[in-house]
Symmetry: C2
Subunit: 211 residues, 2 copies
Protein backbone atom coordinates (compact mmCIF):
# COMPACT_ATOMS: atom_id res chain seq x y z
CA UNK A 1 0.00 0.00 0.00
CA UNK A 2 2.59 2.53 1.11
CA UNK A 3 5.22 3.27 -1.52
CA UNK A 4 7.94 1.61 0.55
CA UNK A 5 6.34 -1.09 2.68
CA UNK A 6 8.23 -1.54 5.96
CA UNK A 7 9.19 -5.07 6.78
CA UNK A 8 7.26 -4.99 10.02
CA UNK A 9 5.73 -2.72 12.61
CA UNK A 10 9.10 -2.06 14.16
CA UNK A 11 10.49 -0.55 10.99
CA UNK A 12 7.32 1.42 10.47
CA UNK A 13 7.75 3.05 13.86
CA UNK A 14 11.34 3.88 13.08
CA UNK A 15 10.21 5.65 9.96
CA UNK A 16 7.56 7.49 11.91
CA UNK A 17 10.11 8.64 14.45
CA UNK A 18 12.48 9.62 11.65
CA UNK A 19 9.78 11.75 10.12
CA UNK A 20 9.19 13.57 13.38
CA UNK A 21 12.89 13.92 13.98
CA UNK A 22 13.34 15.55 10.59
CA UNK A 23 10.87 18.27 11.51
CA UNK A 24 12.83 19.21 14.59
CA UNK A 25 16.27 18.70 13.05
CA UNK A 26 15.36 20.79 10.06
CA UNK A 27 14.08 23.61 12.19
CA UNK A 28 16.78 23.72 14.86
CA UNK A 29 19.80 22.04 13.34
CA UNK A 30 21.64 19.03 14.64
CA UNK A 31 23.27 20.49 17.72
CA UNK A 32 20.19 22.14 19.18
CA UNK A 33 17.78 19.30 18.63
CA UNK A 34 17.38 17.40 21.87
CA UNK A 35 15.71 14.04 22.05
CA UNK A 36 12.99 15.56 24.21
CA UNK A 37 12.30 18.20 21.60
CA UNK A 38 12.25 15.58 18.87
CA UNK A 39 9.89 13.37 20.83
CA UNK A 40 7.78 16.43 21.61
CA UNK A 41 7.13 16.85 17.90
CA UNK A 42 6.05 13.24 17.69
CA UNK A 43 3.15 11.21 19.11
CA UNK A 44 5.55 9.60 21.59
CA UNK A 45 7.37 10.36 24.79
CA UNK A 46 11.07 11.02 25.04
CA UNK A 47 11.95 7.59 26.36
CA UNK A 48 10.73 5.73 23.31
CA UNK A 49 13.68 6.81 21.24
CA UNK A 50 15.94 4.34 23.01
CA UNK A 51 13.53 1.58 22.31
CA UNK A 52 13.89 2.04 18.57
CA UNK A 53 17.38 3.45 18.32
CA UNK A 54 20.67 2.74 20.00
CA UNK A 55 21.42 6.41 20.60
CA UNK A 56 20.88 9.87 19.23
CA UNK A 57 23.42 9.45 16.46
CA UNK A 58 21.69 6.37 15.09
CA UNK A 59 18.37 8.20 15.02
CA UNK A 60 19.89 11.16 13.18
CA UNK A 61 21.67 9.00 10.64
CA UNK A 62 18.57 6.90 10.09
CA UNK A 63 16.51 10.05 9.62
CA UNK A 64 18.77 11.71 7.09
CA UNK A 65 19.11 8.47 5.17
CA UNK A 66 15.35 8.12 5.24
CA UNK A 67 14.97 11.58 3.75
CA UNK A 68 17.75 11.46 1.20
CA UNK A 69 16.59 8.13 -0.15
CA UNK A 70 13.60 9.96 -1.60
CA UNK A 71 15.70 12.86 -2.86
CA UNK A 72 18.35 11.37 -5.02
CA UNK A 73 15.81 10.86 -7.78
CA UNK A 74 14.58 14.44 -7.69
CA UNK A 75 15.95 15.39 -11.11
CA UNK A 76 15.41 12.08 -12.84
CA UNK A 77 12.08 13.19 -14.29
CA UNK A 78 13.77 16.31 -15.62
CA UNK A 79 16.46 14.21 -17.23
CA UNK A 80 13.89 11.85 -18.71
CA UNK A 81 11.43 14.39 -20.03
CA UNK A 82 13.68 17.05 -21.50
CA UNK A 83 14.01 16.78 -25.26
CA UNK A 84 16.43 19.65 -25.83
CA UNK A 85 19.37 21.10 -23.95
CA UNK A 86 17.56 24.37 -23.41
CA UNK A 87 14.57 22.58 -21.98
CA UNK A 88 16.79 20.62 -19.63
CA UNK A 89 18.51 23.74 -18.33
CA UNK A 90 15.22 25.47 -17.64
CA UNK A 91 13.62 22.47 -15.98
CA UNK A 92 16.71 21.82 -13.88
CA UNK A 93 17.03 25.44 -12.78
CA UNK A 94 13.34 25.58 -11.93
CA UNK A 95 13.53 22.40 -9.91
CA UNK A 96 16.54 23.63 -7.96
CA UNK A 97 14.77 26.84 -7.02
CA UNK A 98 11.61 24.94 -6.19
CA UNK A 99 13.26 22.60 -3.74
CA UNK A 100 14.85 25.49 -1.92
CA UNK A 101 11.45 27.07 -1.65
CA UNK A 102 9.76 23.87 -0.49
CA UNK A 103 12.39 22.09 1.55
CA UNK A 104 14.84 24.65 2.83
CA UNK A 105 14.95 23.16 6.34
CA UNK A 106 15.92 19.76 4.97
CA UNK A 107 18.71 21.24 2.89
CA UNK A 108 19.96 23.24 5.84
CA UNK A 109 20.01 20.06 7.86
CA UNK A 110 21.94 18.24 5.18
CA UNK A 111 24.67 20.85 5.07
CA UNK A 112 24.72 20.94 8.84
CA UNK A 113 25.26 17.20 9.09
CA UNK A 114 27.81 17.15 6.32
CA UNK A 115 29.80 19.79 8.15
CA UNK A 116 29.43 18.04 11.50
CA UNK A 117 30.81 14.90 9.90
CA UNK A 118 34.16 16.68 9.80
CA UNK A 119 34.10 16.87 13.60
CA UNK A 120 32.22 13.70 14.41
CA UNK A 121 33.70 10.53 13.07
CA UNK A 122 30.48 8.61 13.62
CA UNK A 123 28.65 10.58 10.96
CA UNK A 124 31.27 10.25 8.29
CA UNK A 125 30.35 6.95 6.69
CA UNK A 126 26.69 7.78 6.15
CA UNK A 127 27.48 11.28 4.91
CA UNK A 128 30.09 10.08 2.46
CA UNK A 129 27.67 7.56 1.07
CA UNK A 130 24.86 10.06 0.62
CA UNK A 131 27.19 12.62 -0.89
CA UNK A 132 28.27 10.08 -3.49
CA UNK A 133 24.62 9.43 -4.34
CA UNK A 134 24.05 13.16 -4.76
CA UNK A 135 27.07 13.40 -7.00
CA UNK A 136 25.65 10.62 -9.17
CA UNK A 137 22.30 12.39 -9.24
CA UNK A 138 23.90 15.61 -10.52
CA UNK A 139 26.03 13.73 -12.98
CA UNK A 140 22.96 12.22 -14.61
CA UNK A 141 21.82 15.77 -15.31
CA UNK A 142 25.16 16.98 -16.64
CA UNK A 143 25.72 13.87 -18.70
CA UNK A 144 22.29 14.14 -20.25
CA UNK A 145 22.90 17.82 -20.95
CA UNK A 146 26.12 16.89 -22.70
CA UNK A 147 24.32 14.30 -24.79
CA UNK A 148 21.63 16.78 -25.78
CA UNK A 149 24.17 19.37 -26.87
CA UNK A 150 26.35 16.77 -28.54
CA UNK A 151 29.37 18.13 -26.65
CA UNK A 152 31.40 16.02 -24.22
CA UNK A 153 31.50 17.09 -20.55
CA UNK A 154 34.38 19.42 -19.73
CA UNK A 155 34.74 18.42 -16.09
CA UNK A 156 34.62 15.29 -13.97
CA UNK A 157 31.54 14.19 -12.10
CA UNK A 158 33.00 15.27 -8.78
CA UNK A 159 33.92 18.71 -10.09
CA UNK A 160 30.49 19.21 -11.60
CA UNK A 161 28.83 18.20 -8.36
CA UNK A 162 31.10 20.37 -6.24
CA UNK A 163 30.48 23.44 -8.37
CA UNK A 164 26.72 23.07 -8.65
CA UNK A 165 26.52 22.21 -4.98
CA UNK A 166 28.42 25.40 -4.24
CA UNK A 167 25.89 27.40 -6.21
CA UNK A 168 23.03 25.64 -4.47
CA UNK A 169 24.50 26.21 -1.04
CA UNK A 170 25.02 29.91 -1.65
CA UNK A 171 21.46 30.17 -2.91
CA UNK A 172 20.19 28.40 0.20
CA UNK A 173 22.21 30.73 2.39
CA UNK A 174 20.87 33.79 0.58
CA UNK A 175 17.34 32.40 0.65
CA UNK A 176 17.56 31.89 4.39
CA UNK A 177 18.57 35.48 4.91
CA UNK A 178 16.60 37.15 2.14
CA UNK A 179 13.77 34.83 1.12
CA UNK A 180 12.08 34.28 -2.21
CA UNK A 181 13.65 37.07 -4.34
CA UNK A 182 17.13 35.54 -4.47
CA UNK A 183 15.88 32.41 -6.24
CA UNK A 184 15.75 34.09 -9.62
CA UNK A 185 19.46 34.65 -9.30
CA UNK A 186 20.02 30.91 -8.93
CA UNK A 187 18.22 30.17 -12.19
CA UNK A 188 20.29 32.82 -13.94
CA UNK A 189 23.47 31.32 -12.55
CA UNK A 190 22.54 27.83 -13.64
CA UNK A 191 21.75 29.03 -17.15
CA UNK A 192 25.22 30.55 -17.32
CA UNK A 193 27.10 27.67 -15.70
CA UNK A 194 25.69 24.52 -17.27
CA UNK A 195 27.03 25.42 -20.75
CA UNK A 196 30.49 25.73 -19.22
CA UNK A 197 30.35 22.11 -18.16
CA UNK A 198 30.51 20.84 -21.72
CA UNK A 199 33.32 21.42 -24.22
CA UNK A 200 31.60 23.62 -26.76
CA UNK A 201 34.53 23.51 -29.14
CA UNK A 202 34.24 19.81 -29.88
CA UNK A 203 30.56 19.23 -30.47
CA UNK A 204 29.06 16.41 -32.38
CA UNK A 205 27.32 17.20 -35.65
CA UNK A 206 24.36 15.10 -34.60
CA UNK A 207 23.53 15.44 -30.94
CA UNK A 208 21.61 12.51 -29.50
CA UNK A 209 18.36 14.45 -29.73
CA UNK A 210 17.11 17.27 -31.93
CA UNK A 211 17.98 20.81 -31.00
Amino acid sequence: MTPTRPVDKFDRRRDELAESALTTLGAMGYARSSLREIAGNSPFSHGVVHYYFEDKLELVIYSVRYYKARCVTRYDAVVRDSATAGELVEAFAAKLAQTIRDEAPMHRLWYDLRTQSMFEEGLREAITEIDAALEAMIWRVVDRYAALTGCPPSVTASSAYAMLDGLFQQALLAFTAGGEPVLDGLATQVRAVLPLLVRQGVCDRSPSTSR
Copy 2:
Protein backbone atom coordinates in the same frame (compact mmCIF):
# COMPACT_ATOMS: atom_id res chain seq x y z
CA MET B 1 56.00 46.08 18.18
CA THR B 2 53.28 43.58 17.35
CA PRO B 3 52.12 43.72 13.75
CA THR B 4 48.68 44.96 14.72
CA ARG B 5 48.99 46.99 17.92
CA PRO B 6 45.81 46.72 20.00
CA VAL B 7 44.40 50.00 21.20
CA ASP B 8 44.94 48.96 24.82
CA LYS B 9 45.47 46.03 27.11
CA PHE B 10 41.79 45.20 27.01
CA ASP B 11 41.80 44.62 23.29
CA ARG B 12 45.01 42.65 23.53
CA ARG B 13 43.37 40.24 25.96
CA ARG B 14 40.38 39.86 23.68
CA ASP B 15 42.72 38.85 20.88
CA GLU B 16 44.50 36.44 23.16
CA LEU B 17 41.23 34.83 24.16
CA ALA B 18 40.13 34.73 20.53
CA GLU B 19 43.31 32.89 19.66
CA SER B 20 42.70 30.29 22.34
CA ALA B 21 39.06 30.01 21.37
CA LEU B 22 40.01 29.28 17.77
CA THR B 23 42.06 26.30 18.86
CA THR B 24 39.12 24.74 20.61
CA LEU B 25 36.51 25.78 18.07
CA GLY B 26 38.59 24.46 15.22
CA ALA B 27 39.10 21.13 16.92
CA MET B 28 35.59 20.50 18.25
CA GLY B 29 33.31 22.68 16.16
CA TYR B 30 30.97 25.36 17.37
CA ALA B 31 28.35 23.28 19.11
CA ARG B 32 30.71 21.16 21.19
CA SER B 33 33.03 23.92 22.31
CA SER B 34 32.06 24.92 25.82
CA LEU B 35 33.40 28.04 27.46
CA ARG B 36 35.17 25.90 30.02
CA GLU B 37 36.89 23.94 27.29
CA ILE B 38 37.87 27.15 25.54
CA ALA B 39 39.21 28.65 28.74
CA GLY B 40 40.99 25.38 29.45
CA ASN B 41 43.02 25.84 26.30
CA SER B 42 43.96 29.33 27.42
CA PRO B 43 46.00 30.78 30.30
CA PHE B 44 42.77 31.87 32.00
CA SER B 45 39.89 30.45 33.96
CA HIS B 46 36.42 29.96 32.61
CA GLY B 47 34.95 33.01 34.33
CA VAL B 48 37.17 35.49 32.55
CA VAL B 49 35.29 35.14 29.32
CA HIS B 50 32.41 37.21 30.65
CA TYR B 51 34.78 39.93 31.67
CA TYR B 52 35.87 40.43 28.08
CA PHE B 53 32.81 39.31 26.15
CA GLU B 54 29.11 39.78 26.57
CA ASP B 55 28.35 36.13 25.90
CA LYS B 56 29.51 33.07 24.01
CA LEU B 57 28.20 34.31 20.69
CA GLU B 58 30.18 37.52 20.90
CA LEU B 59 33.35 35.58 21.62
CA VAL B 60 32.77 33.26 18.68
CA ILE B 61 32.00 36.06 16.28
CA TYR B 62 34.98 38.06 17.49
CA SER B 63 37.21 35.03 17.06
CA VAL B 64 36.16 34.17 13.54
CA ARG B 65 36.43 37.81 12.50
CA TYR B 66 39.87 37.92 14.08
CA TYR B 67 40.92 34.92 12.04
CA LYS B 68 39.30 35.80 8.75
CA ALA B 69 40.75 39.31 8.80
CA ARG B 70 44.14 37.74 8.20
CA CYS B 71 42.83 35.36 5.54
CA VAL B 72 41.11 37.47 2.99
CA THR B 73 44.48 38.53 1.61
CA ARG B 74 45.76 34.97 1.29
CA TYR B 75 45.85 34.97 -2.52
CA ASP B 76 46.84 38.57 -3.04
CA ALA B 77 50.51 37.69 -3.35
CA VAL B 78 49.61 35.07 -5.93
CA VAL B 79 47.64 37.64 -7.89
CA ARG B 80 50.43 40.18 -7.63
CA ASP B 81 53.35 37.93 -8.50
CA SER B 82 51.96 35.82 -11.33
CA ALA B 83 53.08 37.03 -14.75
CA THR B 84 51.21 34.50 -16.88
CA ALA B 85 47.85 32.80 -16.69
CA GLY B 86 49.47 29.41 -16.32
CA GLU B 87 51.60 30.64 -13.49
CA LEU B 88 48.55 32.05 -11.74
CA VAL B 89 46.64 28.81 -12.01
CA GLU B 90 49.51 26.81 -10.57
CA ALA B 91 50.19 29.21 -7.75
CA PHE B 92 46.51 29.46 -6.87
CA ALA B 93 45.99 25.72 -6.92
CA ALA B 94 49.06 25.17 -4.79
CA LYS B 95 47.96 27.76 -2.26
CA LEU B 96 44.50 26.23 -1.98
CA ALA B 97 45.93 22.82 -1.27
CA GLN B 98 48.45 24.28 1.15
CA THR B 99 45.87 26.03 3.28
CA ILE B 100 43.84 22.85 3.58
CA ARG B 101 46.97 21.09 4.73
CA ASP B 102 47.93 23.83 7.20
CA GLU B 103 44.64 25.17 8.46
CA ALA B 104 42.02 22.49 8.02
CA PRO B 105 40.50 23.08 11.48
CA MET B 106 39.96 26.74 10.73
CA HIS B 107 38.26 25.97 7.46
CA ARG B 108 36.08 23.37 9.10
CA LEU B 109 35.10 25.95 11.69
CA TRP B 110 34.25 28.48 9.02
CA TYR B 111 31.89 26.11 7.24
CA ASP B 112 30.42 25.10 10.54
CA LEU B 113 29.65 28.69 11.50
CA ARG B 114 28.34 29.56 8.07
CA THR B 115 25.94 26.65 8.28
CA GLN B 116 24.93 27.48 11.85
CA SER B 117 24.10 30.99 10.68
CA MET B 118 21.13 29.47 8.86
CA PHE B 119 19.76 28.33 12.20
CA GLU B 120 21.03 31.10 14.44
CA GLU B 121 20.01 34.59 13.46
CA GLY B 122 22.68 36.15 15.67
CA LEU B 123 25.49 34.79 13.51
CA ARG B 124 24.06 35.92 10.22
CA GLU B 125 25.36 39.45 9.97
CA ALA B 126 28.99 38.59 10.66
CA ILE B 127 28.91 35.56 8.39
CA THR B 128 27.36 37.45 5.51
CA GLU B 129 30.00 40.12 5.81
CA ILE B 130 32.89 37.67 5.86
CA ASP B 131 31.44 35.68 2.99
CA ALA B 132 31.31 38.84 0.91
CA ALA B 133 34.98 39.49 1.69
CA LEU B 134 35.84 35.95 0.60
CA GLU B 135 33.92 36.42 -2.60
CA ALA B 136 35.90 39.58 -3.30
CA MET B 137 39.13 37.71 -2.53
CA ILE B 138 38.29 35.00 -5.08
CA TRP B 139 37.16 37.54 -7.61
CA ARG B 140 40.54 39.25 -7.52
CA VAL B 141 42.04 35.93 -8.59
CA VAL B 142 39.53 35.24 -11.35
CA ASP B 143 39.63 38.79 -12.62
CA ARG B 144 43.39 38.75 -12.77
CA TYR B 145 43.29 35.40 -14.53
CA ALA B 146 40.93 36.89 -17.10
CA ALA B 147 43.25 39.81 -17.62
CA LEU B 148 46.25 37.53 -18.10
CA THR B 149 44.43 35.43 -20.68
CA GLY B 150 42.93 38.46 -22.36
CA CYS B 151 39.49 36.83 -22.15
CA PRO B 152 36.59 38.36 -20.23
CA PRO B 153 35.17 36.44 -17.28
CA SER B 154 32.31 34.13 -18.22
CA VAL B 155 30.54 34.20 -14.87
CA THR B 156 29.69 36.71 -12.16
CA ALA B 157 31.76 37.15 -9.03
CA SER B 158 29.21 35.36 -6.89
CA SER B 159 29.03 32.39 -9.27
CA ALA B 160 32.80 32.12 -9.44
CA TYR B 161 33.03 32.21 -5.66
CA ALA B 162 30.24 29.70 -5.18
CA MET B 163 31.78 27.23 -7.60
CA LEU B 164 35.34 27.47 -6.32
CA ASP B 165 34.08 27.37 -2.77
CA GLY B 166 32.21 24.20 -3.64
CA LEU B 167 35.39 22.63 -4.92
CA PHE B 168 37.28 23.75 -1.85
CA GLN B 169 34.66 22.43 0.51
CA GLN B 170 34.59 19.03 -1.16
CA ALA B 171 38.37 18.91 -0.97
CA LEU B 172 38.26 19.78 2.72
CA LEU B 173 35.68 17.09 3.32
CA ALA B 174 37.76 14.53 1.45
CA PHE B 175 40.93 15.66 3.21
CA THR B 176 39.27 15.24 6.59
CA ALA B 177 38.33 11.69 5.76
CA GLY B 178 41.28 10.68 3.64
CA GLY B 179 44.16 13.02 4.37
CA GLU B 180 46.97 14.29 2.20
CA PRO B 181 46.47 12.20 -0.98
CA VAL B 182 43.24 13.88 -2.05
CA LEU B 183 44.90 17.28 -2.37
CA ASP B 184 46.39 16.48 -5.75
CA GLY B 185 42.87 16.07 -7.01
CA LEU B 186 42.03 19.60 -5.97
CA ALA B 187 44.89 21.03 -8.00
CA THR B 188 43.77 19.02 -11.02
CA GLN B 189 40.24 20.27 -10.63
CA VAL B 190 41.34 23.89 -10.36
CA ARG B 191 43.46 23.55 -13.48
CA ALA B 192 40.39 22.30 -15.33
CA VAL B 193 37.91 24.77 -13.91
CA LEU B 194 39.66 28.15 -13.98
CA PRO B 195 39.78 28.21 -17.80
CA LEU B 196 36.02 27.70 -17.85
CA LEU B 197 35.56 30.93 -15.94
CA VAL B 198 36.71 33.06 -18.87
CA ARG B 199 35.11 33.25 -22.30
CA GLN B 200 37.74 31.66 -24.46
CA GLY B 201 35.95 32.52 -27.68
CA VAL B 202 36.34 36.27 -27.31
CA CYS B 203 39.93 36.77 -26.29
CA ASP B 204 41.89 39.92 -26.69
CA ARG B 205 44.76 39.91 -29.17
CA SER B 206 47.01 41.53 -26.56
CA PRO B 207 46.42 40.22 -23.04
CA SER B 208 47.46 42.59 -20.31
CA THR B 209 50.68 40.68 -19.79
CA SER B 210 52.83 38.47 -21.97
CA ARG B 211 51.95 34.85 -22.33
